[in-house]
């Protein structure tokens, strides 16, 4: 094989440069919005004394779950506070929630579009495959070019990595609504949006919530990687511990992430179940 190498790499770099030069205002705008959300959440989570936040979370846990979840939330968060990772953990939570909120805001409508149009589904599906299988480190680099260092490229990479389940499961959930129900809705003269909001979304809701749950978990799994581009938080602590070979600190910070993960997971799963039970009333 004596063919010349296809200069794919330089094409991509040229594209990156072109995008950076021509879309700078757009990227600045995105940066502004994401930083605004993260800062807002961080302020809310970090400004009050940690004990108040712990009480609020425990109360929430008790409201949507039972004593078990409330007890775990209280003990878990107190342990994080005790180990001295409170501020980092709240920074991480702000990052994860931002990524999750934006993923839901973009992902659910995209999923609905995919469910309505086979062509849209054919276009989106390979893109999602690409986003999920391309190693996350690779798209950290252009993120830095477009959004510079800090929390914003971290959030962007988390969204790219974490949004596919929300899109896929929204699409799946709506497509799985039995055809005879859709037909019945049509037979009674529903408009497309009446059909969507009165039938398809409520029936697809458990599936969509499973997708959102996955999205939150995946964005949490990105926090260490996000810290490599300058996102603060408990992920950064883990990353530092790894580079400095500090096993103890690494595990302490790791446990903080695990506790956060379990709380987020149970919260969304509980909300999912409660939502299902409350339907139709």
């Amino acid at each position: 094989m004596n063919l010349p190498k296809i200069p794919l790499g330089s094409w991509i770099e040229a594209l990156e440069k072109w995008l950076d030069q021509n879309f700078e205002p757009l990227f600045d705008f995105i940066t502004l919005i994401i930083r605004g959300i993260v800062d807002g959440l961080e302020t809310v989570l970090r400004y009050p004394p940690s004990l108040i936040i712990i009480i609020v979370f425990t109360a929430l846990a008790w409201l949507i779950g039972r004593w078990g979840l409330a007890a775990f939330t209280a003990i878990g968060l107190l342990l994080i506070e005790n180990l001295g990772y409170w501020d980092q953990t709240m920074q991480t939570l702000a990052l994860v929630l931002t990524a999750a909120i934006i993923s839901i805001l973009i992902g659910v409508p995209l999923g609905i579009l995919c469910a309505r149009s086979n062509r849209m589904q054919r276009i989106i599906t390979p893109l999602l495959d690409f986003m999920q299988t391309m190693p996350a480190f690779v798209y950290l680099l252009p993120s830095i070019t477009f959004f510079s260092l800090g929390v914003v490229p971290g959030v962007i990479s988390s969204i790219i990595f974490a949004i596919p389940p929300t899109i896929r499961l929204t699409n799946l959930g709506i497509r799985q609504v039995p055809a005879e129900l859709v037909e019945a809705a049509d037979a009674f003269g529903s408009t497309p949006s009446q059909k969507l909001f009165k039938l398809q979304l409520p029936i697809a809701m458990p599936t969509i919530m499973a997708g959102i749950n996955q999205t939150i978990m995946l964005s949490l799994s990105m926090v260490v990687i996000a810290s490599m581009v300058g996102a603060q938080g408990v992920g950064a602590t883990v990353y530092r511990a790894v580079t400095q070979v500090k096993t103890g600190i690494g595990f302490e910070a790791g446990i903080a992430i695990v506790i956060l993960a379990i709380i987020l997971d149970r919260f969304t799963q509980r909300a999912m179940r409660n939502g299902k039970a409350a339907e139709g009333r």
Binding site: P178, E180, L181, E183, A184, A185, D186, A187, F188, G189, S190, T191, Q194, K198, L199, P202, I203, E279, G280, R281
Partner: protein
């Protein structure tokens, strides 16, 4: 008055409906078109008229196109060609918005697998059609409650569909179809998923509801007994075409072709045919005649007894040849001879209910209408002939003369 009128209504599933249509018009069969063009003829040039207040049954085996045909009527499936009128208004030319209004106001639908919305309570299911019209909450609740009461589900409005039995679920389906008080109710195999006993109850209930509401109902079924039981008109379908349209009696007694004949050959005729089908002309004598005349009549007509009637054909009783000849010897009048314990039945009694009566009586059974006017007589031979499937060919043709 006709409410729905279809002319040459056709549905082709496939890539080039126009091509298949012209092949159909050239007389190609459904199978040949499928083999040559990979296109399926769902409904083949169906023409029919549905009268207001009628239960119009479309009946056929699975794959005969009956479910497709009913969906053409509210354009859940778009017709490929033909004409479709609702009260003279062209359904096929309706815009999206007109069609939506037509579905909201004029046609209700009930589905085979109920198709209830599992996340909504019974009440909110029944409200659905009213809700999408944008009806105010209290008004639609009131109308939905009326519909639920009509189908006997009052008290269940806050249950979820999966808490109800199949029969009750379909009542919800029926209430949902009726809630917006449509002109036409489409029922797609509405009772097919139910147990036989419940199915029969539902049929009875539908007939009872129908006697109050006088809706136009298009009822799809693959069950001939069901079709015969509830249909005013039956359209029998095969391979997408309508093979015969007629009243249940016409379908049974005058099958249009071999297919219909084979279809109806297993029907339990005793549950379908009525006294009116098998009765023969009664030999009568008016009460003012004497026994001598009666005996003379019997001799002329070759019978052993006569029905005695008054001038307005009201049945008074029966006189036998034996009694008449005794009466001549003893100088009695005709009215003294009348046997009054003649078995009587109404013209719409099914043969099934006739057997016991006939078994217990040595006299023929008189058929009288609600004014006790004598319409005819049922003799054992005619019943047996009818059950053997050849009644109308000979004796029984006079039932329509009344």
């Amino acid at each position: 008055m006709s409410i729905i009128e279809a002319k040459q209504l056709t549905k082709i599933f496939g890539s080039e409906p126009k091509k298949a249509l012209s092949l159909l018009q050239q007389g190609w069969t459904k199978d040949k078109i499928l083999a040559e063009t990979k296109m399926t003829v769902g409904v083949n040039q169906a023409s029919f008229t549905i009268e207001e207040g009628q239960i119009f049954v479309i009946m056929g085996l699975s794959g005969s196109g009956k479910s497709t045909l009913v969906r053409l009527l509210n354009r859940l499936i778009e017709p490929s060609s033909g004409q479709l009128l609702f009260k003279g208004q062209d359904i096929m030319n309706m815009s999206v918005e007109q069609l939506r209004q037509f579905r909201r106001k004029n046609v209700g639908m009930v589905f085979q697998k109920f198709a209830l919305f599992p996340h909504r309570t019974v009440l909110r299911n029944v409200e659905y059609g009213l809700e999408v019209q944008g009806m105010e909450k209290s008004k639609r609740k009131e109308m939905a409650m009326q519909a639920l009461e009509l189908v006997g589900l009052k008290g269940w409005e806050n249950s979820l569909p999966d808490q109800l039995s199949g029969g009750m679920q379909q009542r919800v389906g029926l209430a949902r179809g009726l809630a917006n008080n449509p002109d036409v109710l489409l029922m797609d195999e509405a009772f097919s998923a139910l147990d036989p006993l419940i199915r029969k109850d539902m049929q009875d209930e539908l007939l009872e509801l129908q006697s109050k509401m006088k809706k136009t109902i298009v009822f799809i079924t693959h069950d001939l007994d069901e079709a015969l039981r509830i249909g005013d008109q039956i359209a029998l379908m095969k391979d997408g075409s309508i093979v015969q349209i007629g009243t249940p009696e016409e379908i049974l007694m005058q099958p249009a072709n071999k297919y219909v004949e084979r279809f109806v050959e297993d029907v339990d005729l005793s549950k379908v045919l009525t006294a009116a089908h098998v009765m023969e002309k009664a030999e009568t004598i008016t009460i003012d005649k004497g026994p001598r005349v009666a005996l003379q009549f019997m001799r002329e007509r070759g019978v052993s007894s006569l029905y005695v009637v008054d001038k307005s054909m009201q049945l008074l009783g029966l006189v036998s040849a034996e009694d008449a000849s005794n009466a001549i010897k003893e100088g009695q009048k005709l009215e003294e001879l009348i046997q009054q314990d003649v078995p009587e039945i109404a013209p719409d009694t099914v043969l099934n209910e006739l057997f016991e009566l006939m078994g217990n009586s040595r006299l023929p059974v008189a058929v009288v209408d609600s004014n006790r006017r004598l319409k005819g007589v049922v003799i054992k031979g005619a019943v047996l002939a009818a059950l053997a499937g050849n009644s109308l060919a000979d004796g029984g043709g006079n039932h329509e003369s009344s």
